[in-house]
Amino acid sequence: MTTATLQPRDAKLYKPEVPPDWCPGCGDYGVLTVLQRAVGELGILNENLMVVSGIGCSSNLPGFFKSYGMHSLHGRSLPVATGCKMANHEMTVIACGGDGDGYGIGQGHFIHSMRRNVNMTYIVMDNEIYGLTTGQTSPTSEPGMKTKSTPFGNPEGQLNPMALALAAGCGFVARGFSGDINHLKSLYTQAIQYPGFALIDVFSPCVTFNKQNTFGWFKERVYKLEDKGHDPSNWTAAMERAKEWGAQIPIGVLYKNPNPRPSIDAEDPALQGAGLATIKKLGLTSEQRKKLIAEYL
């Protein structure tokens, strides 16, 4: 384990030679570029970063990001990332994926991860659609939206990830927009530095399958919480903002717990020293064995 520099580094250092293969204009390009800038700004070395995704267009991100990475299973980025953090809590762990991945099939892990409060950042590229499977309704699709799986309109209610995150006790709840790069970067750096589970839902339009929630659609609607004097330490105010959807949709930090409860990895007795993965002498000592055996005698 090498120690992180605190010197800002060039975003290019996080670009592998193979370029992303998302559709031209896909919102995920912005999400990726800003992430490269943000970790550079924080000076985190490539080898100290573990980026974990599920499956989806958005979940292809680790392949376009120069660090250690896992492109895991659909819906499972959070438990995989939690395993990574427990195994080596000295690394910076970033989980990412799509709205289907995180809020659909991954919903159970989503709620429990926030409750568990592992120190990691979770970026959801929320395009209100299933992109990779060519356009079916997602949990964040708007009611009535026509998709390949709902040709007569989506009959289900729309999931509100911000409200759920607040209700689940998440200490850092933010929303960004891939169309506003600089604003998004500051959300990333705050999230990574927050000592606990941090969620950033990013509006990242699918230009191919979601003809409803387009860049233009979001541009017309999003406003910055900072501009409205929102107090991110106020949970109730955050919940009120979380409910806004329609003509006005807030982006920015909805909630940041001013007194973060310690993250679970920070408190785990086994994670007080070096990362478990770096321990070289494995197995019980003779004393440990003798003590354990004594319990059975």
Binding site: V18, D21, I55, L73, T133, T150
Partner: protein, 605 residues
């Protein structure tokens, strides 16, 4: 002898290759020609390369065939990849204004089209496809009318579009016929109109025709087509269709519905099926009829989501813990997908158990012609021992220990027949015995009862039958979709004088053990299947004690072509006992940036 031509259409996603292929297929089908389509596509939403292969024949076709003899290159990349695959007699059509031909192999006719000139300078780029298609049908000797009628049908409501297409196509048609030699193969057309269908649509329509009333799914390639069909037709057909939050929800919802007495179904691919396995055990012990489709694709794990494999047999056999009755069926062709739906729902209700259907990408996303009369058939509906109304029986036991093991099923809602079905072991009345101290006697009785149900199943199957040279001492054995390429390979070998028979399995569990032994014992058995480990060969050995003498396997993502199997069998006959065949066409190898730290990742899963 059949006359046939295999056409390859190459282009990038978004180039319109797919609709060009559809139009060609339709044009052919409307002249009574048989078509089989398989598309190798890059799982990118835009860009990338895709190669649509249409096998067109004047007799029935069962597979994708192997030698492309006409191609349309919609872009330079396609030309560069595929020209070298052509053999003498082939024609290669392309936009001469944009695409540079490579050096054509001996006897291949290069057919550049002056698209600018033919379509006019203002034409949309997509018109190059229409010009090329016109040229192709001209060189194939089609009536132009057949093609123009497709445009008329497709764009019924847009006469201008029809006109633009017809004009461009006609220009290509006339130019080509005037300028180039026609393709040497002449296809015999008829007046019959054939239906052009995808396997997934046939599975969906088959389920509807079998009375399926609840369909649940979570999108997953290559099974998503079933959901799309159901979603767009459910409203008209009175089928309740739900996209659920995950495959666990899907399976449990389908079982809940099945338990209530509707015919219910769900479909997914390998990874989603893994998530369904716990619920399959529930259907097993609750004795709930339900049909679950697993459309196999390249594994393991996310694997190759847009490629072909028959690698989920072990998973289907091992789905869920413990022993319980299940039926596993793998349709052998797109047409068989229809029949299998009729059978699956009947078996599920008759034997009150989950029926697992193993389709695969080749069939589900494959596309072929079928006779309309084959589809327009009323299915036999056998609901088994089902009680829909109060029959006055005051001593109803849901899990009655009967000689057949089948206990008459009451659908919830009927008075005086209340029961609770539990996933815990239970007695005949459904009372759980997991809470008593121990009851080995009831336990054994209930396990035996459930197991006994499976004894009758094989009698309901279509008996096994040798194809090819049935008298031969060498038998090629396949399961599921490999039937298509294998049956043709065997036919070719037979024609060459190589004596081989072919035995195709469709019913996997319970297995036609006795029949298999009768047909295979003492013969030289060559198992041909589309996976690395030889899952079917293992199954055959496990179920019938028959050890394959040799195996021909493919697991490179591309489906078997008859030639692979012919070659494989020849190698076997020369003495090899394991031949791992592979697709080696030059176009089928895409170099991509290598080197340390150079990462890239995948997409359509």
């Amino acid at each position: 002898m059949a006359n046939e031509i295999i056409v390859g259409i190459g282009g990038a996603a978004g180039d319109g290759g797919a609709s060009t292929g559809d139009n060609l297929a339709q044009t052919s089908a409307r002249q009574g020609l048989h078509v089989y389509v398989y598309t190798s596509y890059q799982s990118l939403i835009r860009g990338g390369h895709s190669w649509i292969r249409l096998r067109i024949s004047d007799t029935k076709v069962t597979n994708i065939g192997d030698q492309v003899s006409a191609m349309i290159a919609l872009n330079q990349d396609s030309m560069d990849r595929h020209l070298q695959e052509m053999k003498a007699g082939a024609i290669c059509i392309y936009n001469g204004d944009k695409v540079k031909p490579g050096k054509a192999p001996e006897g291949v006719q290069l057919c550049p089209l002056p698209v600018f000139e033919l379509a006019g300078k203002d034409a949309l780029p997509i018109m190059q496809n229409t010009v090329a298609l016109g040229a192709l049908v001209g060189l194939l000797g089609y009536d132009f009318q057949a093609l123009s009628s497709v445009f008329e049908h497709t764009f019924k409501k847009k006469p201008q579009v029809v006109e633009a297409n017809v004009t461009a196509a006609k220009a290509g048609f006339d130019f080509a016929v005037k300028t180039y030699k026609k393709h040497g193969t002449v296809l015999k057309k008829t007046d019959a109109k054939l239906a052009m269908v995808h396997g997934n649509n046939i599975l969906a329509m088959g389920a509807a025709n079998a009375g399926c009333k609840v369909y649940c799914a979570y999108p997953m390639s290559p099974a998503t087509g079933i959901l799309h069909w159901m979603a767009s037709h459910g409203k008209d057909l009175g089928i309740c269709v739900r996209q659920v939050e995950d495959e666990i929800g899907v399976a449990n919802m389908a079982i809940g519905a099945g338990q209530m007495g509707v015919r219910s179904m769900c479909a997914t691919s390998g990874g989603g099926f893994a998530l369904m396995t716990e619920a399959i055990g529930m259907a097993g012990i609750m004795e709930t009829p339900v049909v679950m489709i697993n459309v196999m694709r390249g594994g393991p794990s996310t694997g190759l989501p847009t490629k072909q494999e028959q690698g989920d047999l072990n998973q289907a056999i091992g789905a869920s813990q413990g022993d319980f009755p299940r039926i596993i069926i793998a349709p052998t062709s797109i047409a068989d997908c229809y029949t299998v739906m009729e059978e699956s729902f009947n078996l599920a209700e008759k034997y009150q158990c989950p029926v697992l259907v193993l389709s695969d990408l080749l069939m589900s996303e494959g596309h072929c012609t079928l006779e309309a009369s084959f589809l327009d058939r009323e299915f036999k509906i056998d609901r088994g021992e089902l009680i829909l109304e109060d029959d006055g029986d005051k001593n109803y036991y849901r899990y009655k220990d009967t000689p057949s093991g089948i206990s008459p099923r009451v659908i919830p809602g009927v008075p005086n027949h209340l029961y609770v079905s539990a996933t815990d072991e239970h007695d005949e009345d459904g009372v759980t015995i997991s809470d008593v101290y121990t009851d080995p006697i009831t336990r054994k009785k209930m396990v035996d009862k459930r197991a006994r149900k499976m004894e009758g199943v094989v009698k309901d199957y279509t008996p096994l039958k040798l194809e090819g040279d049935a008298s031969s001492n060498t038998v090629v054995v396949t399961y599921g979709s490999t039937w298509g390429a294998a049956s043709e390979a065997v036919e070719r070998l037979n024609k060459e004088g190589v004596k081989v028979a072919h035995l195709s399995f469709k019913y996997l569990v319970p297995f036609q053990e006795k029949e298999a032994i009768a047909l295979l014992k003492g013969k030289k058995v060559i198992v041909v299947e589309m996976n690395k480990a030889g899952q079917f060969a293992r199954h055959l050995r496990a179920e019938a004690g028959i050890t394959a003498d040799a195996n021909v396997r493919k697991y490179d993502g591309e489906p078997f072509e008859p030639k692979h199997i012919v070659e494989g069998i020849k190698e076997v006959l020369k003495g090899k006992n394991l031949v791992e065949v592979q697709s080696l066409e030059p176009g089928w190898r895409t170099p991509h940036p290598p080197g340390p730290g150079v990462l890239s990742t995948g997409s359509t899963h």
